[in-house]
Symmetry: C2
Subunit: 220 residues, 2 copies
C-alpha cells in the first residue's frame, strides 16, 4: 500500500516551504496540485515546480472554492488518490498555506480516513504569518486573543484587539467600513511573498485593487 | 551598516524550518537565541544548531516570559543587536514558532524600528499548525472564524466553533472544564514535533502531564 502526504507549500514564495515538505516533493511518485479555476494555474504547483524531479507525475485537479460541486470534486480527487495509493504510490497533495487552515485538503482527507489509508500531513506557513513578516507588524502580543475571520463574518468581531480578515474578495468595502467604525488600524496585503505583492493602507487604493488573494491584518 | 533578520524556526522539529530561514542561518555573522530560563536551554537554538556554520558566533539571551523584567531584558538584547549591526554584522534572531505570534521578538523589534535599523523578518510554522498536522485535525473549515486564545482568557470564548488554547500551563483544569461544559471536543498536544511529544484526549491524563509547552485544539 502507498501513502498520501498532504503538504502546505506556504503562501507562494518558493523559499517559504519547509525542508520536510521539500523532501516529500522530491520523493513523491505523483504530485496532485489543486486549482481554484477550471483549466487554471495552480499557485501551489507554481510555488514548488522547480523542486519536482523530472520523473515525477504531476496532476492538476480542479477544486472550486465554495461552489456547489466542491464536495463532488473532492470525491473525484479522492478516487484518483485512492487508485494511486492502492498501487503503492506515494502521493503528495499540495495546498497553498497550511493544510488545516481553510483548505481543500480537508474535504478530500475525510474520504481517506474513512478507508483507513496511511496519511501524513506537513504544515505550511499561513498567508497571515507571511503577511505579518512582510509588513513587520505583530499578529498578536501579550495576553490577547487573535481572531482569524472570513470577511463576510466581520460583524462577529466583538472586543478582540487583534484580528485577521481572510477571504476578502468582494467584501472589501464592508470590511473596511466596519474596521474604521470600530477604531481598528489596518493593513491590506495581497499576494504575500509572491509576484505582484501589494501592501496598502488607504481605503480607496484597496477598493481599486480588489485582489482575489488578499487579507487584512488589524489591531486597535 | 549590518542588518537584523528575525526568523521563526517553527515548533521545534528541525525539518519544519523554511528554506529562507535556513539560508539566513547559514549566512549569519551572529545568531542570537532566546531562552525562557536563566542559564536554560534555548529550544530555538536546539532546533537549528546543526545548520549553524562553525565560524558563526552564537549568543544565548535570557528572555523571561511574562515576568516584570521582560522589558528590561528585551532592551538589553536590543543593545547587543545594535552594537553588532553598527559594526556591519548580519544578526539572526531566532524565535520558536512564528516571530509575530506571541513572541519575544516583538519587544526587541520596537527598539530597532525607533532607530531606523534595517530589519527583515522570516515567518515560521506556528505550534498550532504543527499540532493540527500531527493529529490530522482541521484548525478551521468553511466559513467559520478561528479563535486563538491564551488559556487564562478562555471565558472570552463565545459562539466560536473552532478554537486553539495557548499558554495552557497551570490553566489546564479551568480550560478543560470550560471546554467540556460548552460542548467542545478537544485534543491536547504537548511538544508538537519535538522529543517527548504527547497527544492526549483524556482530562485526567492531561492534568497528570501538565507540560509547559502545550496547547489544545478544540471544535464543536
Amino acid at each position: 500500500m502507498g501513502k498520501l502526504i498532504g503538504i502546505g507549500v506556504g503562501p507562494g514564495d518558493k523559499e517559504l516551504i519547509t525542508l520536510k515538505a521539500l523532501k516529500a516533493i522530491e520523493n513523491a511518485d505523483v504530485i496532485i496540485a489543486p486549482t481554484a479555476m477550471e483549466n487554471g494555474v495552480s499557485i501551489a504547483l507554481e510555488t514548488v515546480k522547480e523542486y519536482i524531479k523530472p520523473n515525477t507525475e504531476v496532476m492538476i485537479k480542479h477544486f472550486p472554492m465554495g461552489k456547489d460541486d466542491r464536495e463532488e470534486k473532492a470525491y473525484e480527487a479522492y478516487k484518483t488518490v485512492e487508485e494511486l495509493v492502492e498501487t503503492k504510490k506515494t502521493v503528495v497533495f499540495l495546498t497553498i498555506g497550511d493544510p488545516y487552515v481553510y483548505s481543500t485538503y480537508i474535504h478530500m482527507l475525510t474520504h481517506m480516513e474513512k478507508k483507513g489509508f496511511d496519511v501524513e500531513t506537513i504544515p505550511g506557513i499561513t498567508s497571515f504569518c507571511a503577511a505579518a513578516s512582510i509588513i513587520d507588524r505583530p499578529l498578536v502580543i501579550g495576553n490577547e486573543p487573535l481572531l482569524i475571520i472570513p470577511a463576510n463574518r466581520v460583524k462577529d468581531i466583538r472586543d478582540e484587539k487583534y484580528v485577521v480578515i481572510m477571504k476578502l474578495y468582494k467584501e472589501e468595502e464592508n470590511v473596511i467600513s466596519f474596521l474604521e467604525e470600530k477604531g481598528f488600524d489596518y493593513v491590506y496585503v495581497s499576494r504575500a511573498g509572491r509576484e505582484g505583492q501589494r501592501v496598502l493602507k488607504n481605503k480607496d487604493e484597496i477598493l481599486k485593487l480588489r485582489d482575489y488573494m488578499s487579507l487584512i491584518i488589524a489591531s486597535r
